[in-house]
């Protein structure tokens, strides 16, 4: 019988269902628990938190979660891979070790700490040596906003995870390791795949892509037949049963809700897809047009046929920079003529903002319940709509204008159109915008700096 390795997905983003990783550990056999916490904007949020408190900057949910599952993890030989470390992986790793000590698991928890993705301190040197770090979308060189940069991290691949696992780590904590590397790493470690076995690297990468968003591949957010998806109060998060040849089964634990079907896996495969022929990661380039799916039993989908190509010479860099301020205010107008009332309120609000001499980069008005997300495609607003929410957002480089805007929403209740409600939340909050600047860098500038340490409780 072929040996399979079971990698369970337990978090699809920072803020995902807290019970999921616990149920993945307790609901049946797994070899690895993969916890992905980082979306593009997450690094920016973590950087904001770190700038307020240097001990923060990682997924704060992770250490208490580990405290719940570490006894099982240690007893059953499960290994955890996670990019919960965010912009402070060392702080995150220390917090896990503290949890292990509180549980008297000294000697049983070995944390693999991966660093070297953080290039903030190296930026000036890199720019001075000719690395322009141009924005991949706009083409602007980073020098244009250098003084506003808050964080800069290279996306690194599976190699340091493999190294940490080989070094005996049972919990691997990283910063900006790719979502897919968290799954590929264990498979490379277990099966001894060569780093240039491009088809298998692509297979492990796509396995990672399938489970990196948690239940979004096992019934969550599933459009096809959503009414018939049962048991979502206890959704089964996905598990990959991988084989050494690069094929794998996507499944979930028994006695859980949701569904694993060709439809559910396909919806996840196309999520955030660019050119399907070239899904580029630090580890290789996967071809999504080669993926074959087949239902192989209840809640079991077999994935095969995956092909891939060589990795590129460049790594992507995720840079967060201070952009400005924004705020969003809302009010709800009721039937009759809810949409007309909301529009009238918006006209009054905009006139007041102009009369105050406030300047914004943008003012965006949406009418929730009357085409906020689909615009004109939704057709003319229903004159009999029971209510419409006026939603006005503003953005500016200076805080003062945005601050003043937040004080102009509530007054509309007594000084504007009638039958208005829904302002109990009070004044909207002014938010700092930390924006995302994707760039590319020669991987030879990064890889020599990537470092793995094994820390013991």
């Amino acid at each position: 019988m072929t040996r399979t390795v079971r990698v369970a997905g337990g978090q699809g983003f920072w803020g995902d269902w807290l019970e999921a990783p616990v149920r993945q550990v307790q609901g049946g056999p797994i070899d690895y628990l993969m916890l992905d916490y980082l979306a593009e904007v997450t690094m920016s949020i973590m950087q904001k938190q770190k700038s307020r408190d240097p001990r923060m900057g990682y997924a704060r949910d992770f250490p208490p979660l580990m405290e719940r599952i570490l006894p099982d993890v240690a007893a059953r030989g499960i290994r955890v891979t996670s990019n919960a470390g965010g912009v402070n992986p060392r702080g995150c790793a220390e917090a896990v070790l503290d949890a292990a000590r509180r549980l008297n698991l000294q000697g049983k928890v070995r944390v693999g700490l991966v660093t070297g993705d953080d290039i903030l301190e190296r930026l000036d040197d890199l720019i001075a040596r000719g690395h322009e770090l141009r924005d991949m979308d706009t083409g602007r060189p980073l020098a244009d906003i250098r003084d506003k940069v808050l964080s800069a991290n290279a996306y690194i691949g599976m190699a340091p995870i493999v190294e940490a696992l080989a070094g005996g780590a049972n919990v691997v904590v990283t910063g900006r390791v790719t979502d897919t590397g968290l799954t590929l790493g264990p498979l490379v470690h277990e099966f001894g795949w060569r780093a240039d076995d491009w088809d298998r690297i692509a297979a492990g990468t796509i396995a990672g892509h399938v489970i990196e968003c948690g239940a979004q591949c096992s019934g969550g957010n599933l459009m096809k037949g959503w009414r018939s998806v049962k048991g979502m109060a206890n959704p089964g998060f996905p598990i990959v049963e991988a084989s050494p040849d690069g094929t794998f089964i996507v499944t979930k634990h028994p006695n859980t809700g949701g569904v694993v079907s060709v439809a559910s896996v396909t919806e996840q495969l196309v999520y955030e897809m660019g050119d399907p022929h070239a899904y580029i990661t630090p580890d290789g380039v996967a071809d999504f047009t080669s993926v074959r799916l087949a239902q192989a039993g209840r809640d079991r989908v077999r994935v095969s046929g995956i092909r891939g190509g060589p990795r590129t010479d460049m790594l992507k860099v995720s840079i967060a920079y201070f952009y400005g301020y924004k705020a969003v205010g809302t009010l709800v107008y009721s039937w009759p003529d809810a949409y007309d009332k909301a529009r009238a309120a918006d006209r009054i609000l905009r006139r007041r903002l102009a009369d105050l001499g406030l300047e914004f980069d943008q003012i965006l008005t949406e009418y929730v319940g009357a085409g906020a997300t689909h615009g004109r495609l939704a057709g003319a607003p229903d004159p009999d709509a029971p209510e419409v929410q006026l939603r006005v957002g503003v953005r500016a480089r200076e805080r003062a204008a945005v601050e003043r805007f937040t004080r102009e929403i509530a007054p509309l209740v007594l000084t504007g159109p009638p039958s208005v409600t829904g302002f109990a939340g009070g004044r909207p909050a002014v938010e700092e915008i930390v924006a995302y600047w994707p760039a590319l860098i020669d991987r030879r500038e990064i890889e020599p700096h990537v470092h793995v340490e094994i820390l013991t409780a």
Binding site: E40, V41, S44, M136, D137, N221, M223, K224, G225, A263, T266, E267, Q268, L269, V270, Y271, E272, M273, G274, D275, P276, H277, F288, T289, S290, V291, R292, L293, G305, Y323, K326, V328, Q362, L364, E366, V368, A372, T373, H374, G375, R376, L377, A378, R391, G393, V394, R395, I433, V434, A435, Y436, P438
Partner: protein, 126 residues
């Protein structure tokens, strides 16, 4: 762009919601929509009728450019909708700043479908 070849004489306009399911996501200021045939046999119809030009027309004034990719193995098409997110990410003021429901916005689009098939698809409970 290849023109539809042998289109049957009698067709009806049918919303894509009866032909496909979809999921969308974001990369910067670009939203993607993966459009998947509800039944594998419907993929050729999708591939023929959901052209780049039609999708660009559907989203005219809402997005700045459209790219289209075919995934016959998944019975799916992938569309990149550029300039769709008002700056994208944390900059965008939109409710749907991350393009999560561009999927259903595409499902509003109508394509010509052979009349008998259109009637069957409309009646099929989803």
């Amino acid at each position: 762009m290849a023109l539809p070849s042998k289109r049957p004489a009698r067709t009806e306009a049918l919303q894509l919601r009866y032909v496909a399911h979809a999921r969308s996501g974001d990369k910067g200021d670009t939203a993607n929509v993966g459009l998947i045939a509800l039944e594998p046999e419907l993929y050729p119809l999708l591939a023929r009728e959901v052209t780049r030009a039609r999708v660009a027309r559907h989203f005219r004034g809402i997005v700045s450019g459209v790219e289209r990719f075919e995934l016959p193995n998944l019975h799916a098409l992938n569309f990149l909708l550029h300039g769709a997110l008002d700056g994208g990410g944390t900059i965008s003021l939109k409710t749907d700043a991350q393009g999560k429901v561009y999927s259903t916005a595409l499902l509003r689009m109508e394509i010509p479908v052979p009349a008998a098939l259109a009637r069957r698809l409309r009646r099929t409970p989803r």
